[in-house]
């Protein structure tokens, strides 16, 4: 489940490989062709982001000319300033930190509790309830937005952050993710021992479950933050440019709120920057988390 477990098959000592095994794809050393093709994939992955920064450092007029700019200009900070002020990205970033931060903490805690129950506790209907949990991942968000919008209007909650926080306080994905981890990572004897010692349920959770779950909680936290930061449909319905999240502000930019393309690119760059930094710092853990979820899923 952890990244080190996942890379284990690759890390086997070379001596154990016979010549025949060389035919196995996973143990072959990559040749130059592999590196070239991977390089092309990497270029396609990164070029649009690099070009966003280039475009954000130019002027609107320059961006309408052929050939398009291929190197940085001198307007990056001016455009970022404009995006910050005109498109409300300052407020938007703060709001997104509040929204994504709250959702992340809450999802991680509640998913761990539910995941623990499904993984280690015996109770009636647990199998059916787990299936139901997985099944809910199939429901598109479109099925909920009309009533949510009506209730929100009745409550006078338009433009308030709790409308986008409350619906995602805990997710089916998180619950399932934690369940899959805890099934293996948490020895049942440990819970039994704690119970024999007379520990209450909450004490078991605090002193046994949370410590065992910590690596997976960190990964789930990262994945949830990315998801919450980038969530789009419900936020653009529930919020307006008066009190936007980052995605709402970017939506306003895209629909003509500020017509300057260089400023729009500066906004796109600013709105993505926090996640790019997170990927730079925790990329390995995020990759490990996605791969771990895949194996068991």
């Amino acid at each position: 489940m952890t990244t080190s477990d996942l890379t284990l098959p690759q890390a086997r000592p070379k001596k154990t490989r016979s010549r025949r095994v060389m035919g196995a794809g996973k143990q072959l050393h990559a040749g130059p062709v592999t590196y070239i093709v991977l390089g092309i994939f990497a270029l396609v992955s990164l070029a649009p982001l690099v070009w966003t920064a280039i475009a954000a450092s130019r002027t609107d007029r320059r961006l309408a000319q052929t050939p398009p700019p291929l190197w940085f200009g001198g307007n990056l900070f001016k455009n970022m300033q404009a995006a910050w002020d005109q498109a409300g990205l300052g407020t938007a970033m703060l709001n997104s930190v509040i929204v994504a931060g709250t959702i992340t903490v809450s999802t991680v805690v509640f998913s761990t509790l539910a995941g623990f129950a499904f993984a280690k506790l015996r109770f009636k209907f647990s199998g059916v309830l787990l299936l139901l949990t997985i099944g809910t991942m199939m429901i598109p968000p479109q099925l909920a937005v009309v009533p949510l919008y009506l209730w929100m209007s009745n409550l006078g909650w338009s433009n308030q952050l709790q409308t986008v926080i409350l619906p995602t306080l805990v997710t089916a994905f998180g619950t399932f993710f934690m369940r899959q981890y805890l099934v293996q990572a948490l020895p049942s004897e440990l819970i039994e021992a704690a119970r024999v010692d007379g520990a209450s349920s909450l004490r078991v959770v605090w002193h046994v479950v949370f410590p065992a779950a910590r690596p997976a909680m960190a990964v789930l936290g990262l994945l949830t933050f990315v998801f919450a930061w980038n969530d789009f449909l419900w936020p653009i319905i529930a919020l307006t440019q008066q009190n936007p999240t980052v995605q709402v502000a970017l939506n306003s930019l895209g629909t003509g709120y500020v017509p300057d393309q260089a400023v729009i690119m500066a906004g796109a760059l600013l709105g993505t920057l926090p996640l790019l930094i997170a990927f730079l710092l925790f990329g390995k853990q995020i990759v490990g988390g996605i791969m771990a979820g895949a194996i068991k899923g």
């Binding site: 690759q10 794809g25 539910a114 479109q142 909920a144 009533p147 919008y149 009745n154």
Partner: protein, 292 residues
């Protein structure tokens, strides 16, 4: 201690009930009513009118067709590229973690940010893509107005954002394939391509099915990319509605035109389509299991 399992799972089911299940049922209820954005408090019974209205609307069928087309041209190449990429990432690489993180960076980019950038890259005048195409002798393409061009452009955003993510999922599955399967294939004289076809692909089958299902669910609700690709009048999905998807059509009917009853009917149509796909998938999986 007996009650605690239920206490632990309660938060999830309360949140799911309040913000997904109850709204889902209410959406069905509203789809049978006339609900206007301008007068939210007056809701009159409409029977199946909203659905009849949809079935006789060219825009609905157009949106359904576009959702299907864009879903197909965004999912199939994406998953094929992801398998190829996963195969490459599965080699012994220098800096294997760096390669994986690089392939995943598009996933860090939100739908909105990615679409804003791609819209500029695809612009007719001075856009990067048309400029690059002129080197191979292709005349500028009007990516926003042309039928297939705009659908291709919207699909390419989806492909860019998700290929790396799916590659990691395939990579995880590839690493779980037992080595002796390759060994015995090699003994039988299978070359690398034959090993890929006859060992890797069959072993990946459950994972491929899983990614197809997830991608299909994603494609059915495609919304942000076409909305922002269209710019100021994005909810129409282009001047001829050429890339208006079901998700976009719902948003347009509900919040631009202001007919929330009809929007609810569109939402439920999406749900029904997904359930049909789920049943087909279930039958397909059963047949697959039997044949093995």
């Amino acid at each position: 201690m007996k009650a605690s399992p239920y206490a632990f799972i309660a938060p999830f089911f309360i949140i799911f009930g309040a913000f997904s299940l109850v709204p889902l049922l209410y959406t069905a209820w509203y789809s049978l009513h006339n609900v206007q954005l301008s007068s939210l408090d007056t809701q009159t019974w409409a029977g199946l009118d909203n659905y009849k209205n949809l079935l006789s609307s060219d825009f609905f069928w157009n949106a359904l067709k576009n959702t299907f087309t864009i879903g197909l041209i965004s999912t199939v190449p994406q998953l094929m590229a992801a398998i190829g990429l996963a195969h490459l990432l599965n080699y012994r690489l220098r800096g294997s973690t760096v390669w994986r993180v690089v392939m995943l960076t598009p996933y860090a980019t939100s739908v909105a940010a990615a679409t804003l950038v791609f819209t500029l890259l695809y612009s007719w005048d001075g856009g990067m893509i048309n400029w690059l195409l002129h080197f191979v002798g292709i005349d500028p393409i009007n990516w926003r107005e042309s039928d297939w061009g705009s659908q291709f452009a919207v699909s390419s955003i989806v492909i860019w954002r998700w290929t790396g993510y799916n590659a990691l999922i395939y990579l995880a599955a590839m690493q779980a394939i037992p080595t002796d399967l390759y060994e015995s294939a090699a003994i039988d004289g299978a070359n690398r391509w034959e090993q890929f076809r006859h060992v890797t692909i069959p072993q990946l089958r459950p994972t491929i099915l899983f990614t197809v299902v997830v991608s299909t669910i994603g494609a059915t609700q495609l919304f942000g990319e076409p909305l922002l690709f269209g710019g100021v009048s994005g909810s129409k999905g282009g001047s001829e509605h050429q890339y208006q998807t079901l998700g976009l059509y719902m948003y347009d009917q509900g919040w631009i035109i202001g007919n929330l009853g009809k929007a609810s009917a569109i939402a439920w149509s999406m749900f029904l389509i997904l359930m049909i796909i789920a049943v087909i998938n279930l039958l397909f999986t059963r047949r697959l299991r039997k044949s093995q």
